[in-house]
């Protein structure tokens, strides 16, 4: 599954995209990322699955497009 990182989150991870395999759900994904990149704990993070913001834990499948988003700042 491909992960996308945007804005300051991409700075923390050092890259805008990342491949990841065998992650059951969005909560597990977030836990894994916070382990791999402890600095992410300093930020508010939104998760979008297939371009929809996920508010509760959601199952992930390999075809999903998963994006990690910092708070929006348009306008």
């Amino acid at each position: 599954m491909q992960l996308k990182f945007f804005g300051k989150l991409a700075e923390v991870t050092g890259k805008p995209t990342m491949e990841i395999t065998s992650i059951a759900d969005t909560d597990s994904l977030l836990n894994k990322l916070l382990q791999d990149f402890p600095k992410l704990k300093e930020y508010n993070i939104l998760i979008a699955v297939d371009k929809k913001i996920v508010k509760q834990n959601q199952q992930l499948e390999s075809h999903n497009e998963v994006a990690l988003l910092p708070p929006f700042a348009g306008g």
């Binding site: 945007f6 994006a67 910092p70 708070p71 929006f72 348009g74």
Partner: protein, 150 residues
């Protein structure tokens, strides 16, 4: 959500939104003679001072596929919620200098109350729900990530 129209409208504009672009957009509406009121919101890049350094420009980026989907949803919802004749949203991507326009929301209705309410609602929706970010760039080319306040 009722889907009144499925056509996607181009929202992102490379760089600043010019006054001439805005004028051309206003001029096009003179043929729509049921319109009595337009409300136009323009976001302009401020030359804020942050920790002693002065913002020279904002570099806008987005999660473009999702942003375009969100803009489309906002458009559909606005037409369902308000009695509008037409509406247009334009947002910059890339570099916009301080003093230039980065957001242009244009709402038209037969009467003013609807135009005002809809324009304000649309701007709040954009700020809350569209995945766009901006780097506020200083004279020395360092930057901070923009944070939105009302």
């Amino acid at each position: 959500m009722k889907m009144k129209e499925t056509k996607k409208h181009k929202v992102f504009v490379q760089g600043a939104i010019t006054p001439e672009f805005i004028a051309a957009s206003i001029a096009k509406h003179s043929a729509k003679t049921t319109i009595g009121a337009h409300d136009i919101f323009l976001g302009q890049v401020r030359m804020d001072t942050i920790d002693g350094k002065v913002v020279q420009a904002i570099d806008y980026s987005s999660y473009k596929d999702m942003a375009e989907e969100k803009f489309h949803e906002i458009r559909e919802q606005a037409f369902n919620k308000f009695n509008l004749t037409c509406m247009h949203i334009y947002h910059s991507e890339g570099l916009v200098k301080a003093g230039a326009i980065c957001l242009f929301v244009f709402v038209s209705s037969a009467r003013r109350a609807m135009a005002f309410d809809a324009c304000k609602w649309i701007v709040e929706e954009i700020k809350a729900n569209v995945p766009i970010w901006g780097k506020e760039i200083f004279e020395d080319n360092t930057f901070v990530w923009k944070e939105n306040i009302k």
